[in-house]
């Protein structure tokens, strides 16, 4: 039902309504004109017939009672002078029946006409239909003048005239009206379509604008033309759009302010930290020579300064991602070598700590610095929260139908698996959130709490994905998948 409703669209309905109006007005006009013309045609014929019959009958010379033979001769003369066309004339007087035709009595004249003619000395006519042919029957009673009054003589002359020609004229008018109506309706289709268009165009504009708004282009406006209901609708739409844009703009500005604040705070912290971090060495070296309490305090300050520097650095990094200011400085690198360099520079070379499975010869287009952060964060995380040995595996995979639908795209997969108890199921969905602590008891980890969030952002910047899961052996497995776009990028 609703499908059916949808199929008969606004355009169809408008055009139908337009045609309906056109049809009704055409029909009404045609009918009225037809009626007037028909009346005129018939009136002309009737009036002519009645008055000419009266003229003829008044010239009748008759005696009373009528003399049949001479009456018949006179009727024949009247019949020849029929107006507007030939007619058959009948005369009735008492029981005398005379006619100009073959039959002395007409079968067309109705008793009502006879009755009226005898009862009332007035000329009268009646249109009758006999066997499909329309006839005009005229009754002309005769009177004689007696002094000031006139009295009926009892003689009534009738004329019977077929209306074939009038019928043909009337029918021709019907045909003309009908033949005129259809081209008229076809012509009405043009303004109907134009009108539908003028209504539908704003509707279409509105739909497009609404879709644009939906897809986030809040500066979409509709040109307001005229002052009709559609213009009102457009104006209302524009007002709503202005309001929406303002609200969203405010929200965005507030969000941007919050981000800028975080970024500014981190940035402001760097300058004092730069001075502090430069002298931590001095503190560490001289701590041994201080009183035990002072030494402990000094070492604490030194250590925490270092952590604070890492935290601020990570916060800066995150706020760069939030501001979409992070750049990918991609270079084509040997992935196995890059991972090895990461492990070596962090001194994770003991096989009891980190086991590697790094096949040679995989080259990918990566940002080496960011990839280093990813691997270092994952391995560092595994060593901190899981337990050694941590296995780092590298492989490539060809996905038949990747999420982007690119057939045969090759991706680099890096897996970091630890030998710990794994990640609790309820923590898995949140593991990449900022400052998320899987172990609630531990209030502050050795890291900044942003490591995995930064890892996620870095992988995303490469167009890849990172997943956390628990392996078959129970340890946590982090899988980084990055498209190997290097080959295409370097021809």
């Amino acid at each position: 039902m609703s499908r059916r409703k949808a199929r008969i669209g606004l355009r169809t309905r408008l055009v139908l309504a337009f045609l309906l109006v056109a049809a009704i007005s055409a029909a009404t006009t045609a009918t009225l004109a037809y009626r007037a013309a028909r009346t005129a045609i018939l009136k002309q014929a009737q009036d002519t017939a009645v008055s000419s019959l009266r003229d003829r009958v008044q010239r009748l010379g008759t005696s009373l009672p009528v003399e049949t033979q001479s009456l018949r001769e006179q009727l024949l003369a009247i019949a020849r002078q029929g107006k507007p066309r030939t007619w058959v004339v009948f005369a009735e007087y008492g029981s005398v029946r005379v006619s100009s035709g073959t039959s002395p009595v007409s079968t067309v004249i109705t008793p009502a006409l006879r009755e009226a003619a005898l009862a009332n000395p007035h000329g009268a006519f009646q249109r009758v239909d006999k066997g499909g042919t329309p006839y005009l029957t005229v009754a002309m009673p005769t009177v004689f003048r007696a002094g000031k009054t006139a009295r009926p003589t009892g003689l009534v002359v009738y004329a019977v005239m077929p209306l074939n020609e009038e019928e043909i004229q009337v029918r021709a008018m019907v045909t003309a009206a009908r033949d005129g109506a259809f081209p008229g309706l076809a012509a009405a289709l043009v303004p109907a379509l134009l009108a539908a268009r003028s209504v539908l165009r704003p509707v279409r504009d509105l739909r497009k604008a609404a879709r644009n708004m939906g897809s986030g282009r809040l500066d979409t406006r509709i040109p307001v033309k005229g002052s009709d209901e559609l213009a009102d609708l457009a104006r209302t739409f524009n007002e709503s759009a202005v309001e929406l844009e303002r609200t969203v703009g405010e929200l965005r500005a507030a969000e941007a302010r919050a981000r800028r604040f975080a970024s500014d705070v981190s940035h402001e912290l760097r300058t004092p930290l730069a001075g502090m971090l430069a002298v931590t060495e001095v503190l560490d070296e001289d701590a041994a020579r201080l009183a035990p309490d002072t030494a402990a305090a000094v070492r604490l300050i030194s250590a925490e300064t270092g952590k604070l520097a890492v935290l601020v650095e990570d916060l800066m990094e995150i706020s760069r991602f939030d501001a979409r200011a992070a750049e990918l400085n991609a270079d084509e690198v040997d992935v196995a070598q890059a991972i090895r360099k990461t492990l070596t520079s962090r001194h994770w070379t003991d096989p009891a700590q980190v086991v590697t499975d790094l096949p040679e010869g995989i080259r990918a287009r990566l940002d080496p610095r960011r990839f280093d952060v990813v691997v270092a964060n994952l391995v560092g995380n595994a060593l901190r929260h899981g337990s050694a040995p941590v296995t780092v595996r590298l492989r490539t995979e060809t996905c038949g139908n990747g999420p982007t639908g690119d057939h045969g795209a090759v991706r680099v997969v890096t897996e970091v698996e630890d030998s710990g108890p794994g990640i609790p199921a309820d923590a898995l969905p949140h593991i990449f959130e900022r400052f998320y602590k899987a172990d609630a008891a531990r209030t502050r980890s050795a890291g900044s709490g942003l490591g995995l969030a930064i890892t996620l952002e870095n992988v995303r910047l490469h167009g890849g994905t990172v997943r956390a899961a628990n392996g078959p052996a129970g340890g946590a497995v982090f899988t980084v998948t990055i498209p190997l776009t290097g080959e295409e990028a370097t021809e």
Partner: protein, 226 residues
């Protein structure tokens, strides 16, 4: 021990870095502005300039350009943000390396040493090598093109010496970062790219289609073939 001039506007940073470096035996002079620093160069005759990019008045990049015009004093920029566009501008202006604040003294010192370190000479080579129009004097550490001596910044000279020591061998950016700048493998490849651009502008006839320092797409750079 090298003499280090530190131009830094923030007093605590100036004092902290100065303290740390002096503890490690460096002779350190600090100035709060670029103008004062430029004045101090002639008198103090430093071996290396540590230059904060954000300075009141004359900024770090301007100081860097002036120093480069005057000579080959090694310059290490101090910057607040490693990703900044300022870093690229500073490198283009002729800085040899940069350090992101905050940094530990040991990191700063390692950079200083790396910048000042001479490239190890391959044994048994002629003192002066001729490569095309270039005359490379490995002992005298200078390069002449068509008989004219070129003013190369320390990092530029080191890169040219390193690449020309093994002509036609391709080095990745990561390798060059490790070998020439002594950065980690994962350092900032923009250092290499900026240095290559500067070097090409000085030694190439047409920097747009280089002859000496050639790019091998997807791998890195090589010297020649001529």
């Amino acid at each position: 021990m090298p003499r280090v001039l530190l131009i830094e506007d923030d007093p605590s940073v100036r004092e902290g870095i100065g303290l740390g470096l002096r503890r490690r035996g460096h002779e350190v002079r600090t100035t709060p502005t670029g103008e004062a620093g430029l004045a101090a160069i002639g008198e103090f005759r430093p071996d290396l300039l540590l230059l904060d990019l954000m300075l009141p008045g004359m900024n770090g990049v301007q100081v860097c350009r002036q120093v480069r015009e005057a000579g080959q004093l090694p310059i290490i920029m101090l910057t607040a943000r490693g990703d900044d566009f300022d870093v690229v501008i500073g490198l283009e202006a002729g800085a040899d390396d940069y350090i992101v604040k905050p940094a530990r003294t040991e990191v700063i010192e390692a950079r200083i040493r790396a910048v000042l370190r001479r490239i190890e000479e391959p044994a048994g080579r002629a003192a002066v090598e001729f490569q095309g129009d270039l005359a490379i004097d490995r002992a005298g550490l200078n390069v002449a093109k068509a008989g004219e001596r070129m003013a190369l910044a320390p990092s530029e000279l080191k890169l040219l010496l390193y690449l020309s020591a093994a002509p036609e061998q391709v080095f990745s950016r990561q390798q060059l970062l490790e070998q020439v700048w002594e950065h980690s493998y994962h350092g900032d490849a923009r250092l290499v790219d900026a240095c290559v651009r500067r070097l090409r502008n000085k030694i190439e006839d047409q920097p747009g289609s280089p002859r000496y320092i050639q790019t091998v797409r997807g791998f890195g750079y090589r010297f020649g073939p001529l």
